[in-house]
């Protein structure tokens, strides 16, 4: 078996007396897209944030390309985070920088790339997400979908080996979801390794290599979309999805 790109082993997080994550392990082979689903409060977002140590875990370990990361070593941690890009639900663009500088700033400050080179690279990434004509606009002048695409370009500019996406379309108006999903779909075709938390089941069904169902801080089931979602199978994942669909139908 080949060594996974990213491997999280037995991650536990306790906040106060609440066990948010209980021995969660995840192995990401190169080029795979794993989709995390589950009810809110299941720990999906917390787990994604422990994967690049935005939330510290109480026990467990992280391995990149088979090598355990020493998270106490700042230099190693910063280098690790450059390898593991993150996309947030609410974009978190830097409000004082235009789209181009949002993408270029980490190249310049973290990687020490010279200004012009960083701008060229940033422009290239903006093109990749279809926003080359918005380079000079500031976050407040962009739509939600455009902001999220800039955020994706910002993460891609760092040449991450893994991309974590924390409900990237949940804060978007329905008509803007498509443009962001299209960009993510292109990334799967380019073979980028990704973990994504989402409620977009159609997207997950179509593109995920594996669906990971979480509940109460644990991984309950994982498997290919066919295994978990096929008609006639009785999986917890399928129950959850059926309830999602009913809930939407009730609203209509």
């Amino acid at each position: 078996m080949t060594v996974p790109i990213l491997f999280a082993r037995d991650i536990c997080v306790t906040i106060g007396s609440n066990e948010i994550l209980k021995n969660v392990s995840l192995s990401l082979p190169k080029g795979s897209l794993k989709v995390l689903i589950g009810p809110s409060g299941a720990g999906k977002s917390t787990f994604l944030q422990t994967l690049n140590h935005l939330i510290p875990h109480d026990s467990g370990c992280l391995e990149l390309n088979g090598k355990e990361i020493n998270l106490n070593n700042k230099r190693e941690l910063y280098a690790y985070r450059q390898q593991v890009g993150m996309i947030f639900q609410d974009f978190n663009l830097f409000d004082h920088l235009n789209a181009l500088d949002n993408v270029a700033i980490a190249l310049r400050k973290v990687k020490g790339v010279e200004r012009q080179t960083a701008h060229n690279r940033a422009m290239q990434e903006l093109k990749r997400v279809g926003l080359e004509d918005k380079a000079t606009l500031y976050p407040a002048e962009l739509s939600g979908g455009q902001k999220q695409r800039v955020a994706i370009a910002r993460a891609l500019a760092m040449d991450p080996t893994v991309l974590l996406l924390d409900e990237p379309t949940s804060a978007l108006d329905p008509e803007l979801i498509g443009e962001v999903l299209a960009v993510i779909r292109d990334l799967t075709r380019d073979g980028l390794t990704m973990v994504m938390a989402t409620h977009q089941m159609d997207f997950a069904r179509a593109l995920a290599h594996e669906i990971v169902f979480m509940q109460d801080g644990e991984i309950i089931e994982q498997g290919s979309p066919e295994e978990l979602l096929q008609e006639g199978t009785s999986s917890r994942t399928r129950d959850f999805c059926a309830r999602l669909v009913t809930a939407i139908d009730d609203k209509r």
Partner: protein, 223 residues
């Protein structure tokens, strides 16, 4: 009668305006010192270890709690003397006003820093930025922009407090006016004149700070 007053004014004006130069030096010195201490104090209070936070807290309480008039005497006749420093009245005034302003400025920067959306800090971390890189390229550029309106308030306050230079005998605008008044007995005329001068310097300064604020405004951003 009116002519006499006009003659007093025109005789005194050059002398008083030179004092305006001194007043502006005091104000500029105090504001720059306040900025240079206020920003690190604010950062220390937000990100520093408990000991540093406590020390800065004490500093702020001291300078906010004691009247500037008392601080002027305290430093000019006491503390600077004890330290073996022989500072001029002008330097003393600028330092005391600057240290006081640092206390206030640190609080306005602290507010601005704490009001930044936390998500941006997460994003910076996720890109591999160190604490210092995040502060210098993400936090401060935004926090300082947000502070300009409050900062122009600070300018008008320091400008008027600078008249306290009188008590240590720096030859600022007010001290000079007072000298002329006690020689010519035209108190009312001269104090009206100097009051108007303070007013105009305030208006001009606030105007330029408002222009700066507009110039640095982030397009589309209203907060």
């Amino acid at each position: 009668m009116i002519l006499e007053k006009l003659i007093v004014i025109s005789d005194a004006l050059p002398y008083i305006l030179q004092g305006a130069g001194i007043t502006l030096i005091i104000v500029a010195g105090a504001m720059v010192l306040g900025l240079c201490l206020g920003v690190p104090f604010a950062l220390g209070q937000v990100y520093g270890p408990p000991l540093i936070r406590g020390a800065i807290g004490l500093y702020v309480w001291f300078f906010r709690g004691v009247p500037i008039l008392i601080l002027m005497f305290l430093f000019y006749f006491g503390i600077f003397d004890l330290l073996g420093l022989n500072l001029s009245p002008l330097t003393t005034t600028a330092l005391v006003l600057g240290m006081t302003s640092a206390a206030y400025q640190s609080q306005l920067f602290r507010g601005a820093i704490q009001s930044l959306p936390q998500g941006q800090l997460k994003a910076a971390k996720a890109l591999g930025m160190s604490r210092w890189q995040t502060v210098s390229s993400i936090v401060l550029p935004q926090a300082l922009r947000m502070s300009i309106p409050a900062w122009s308030n600070e300018y008008s306050i320091i400008l008027k407090d600078s008249a306290l230079a009188y008590v240590v005998g720096a030859l600022d605008m007010f001290t000079r006016t007072h000298f002329v008044a006690s020689r010519t007995y035209e108190h009312l005329t001269l104090f009206m004149l100097v009051g108007a001068l303070y007013f105009f310097i305030t208006v001009i300064g606030v105007y330029f700070l408002a222009r700066l604020e507009k110039k640095l405004r982030i397009p589309g951003y209203t907060a």
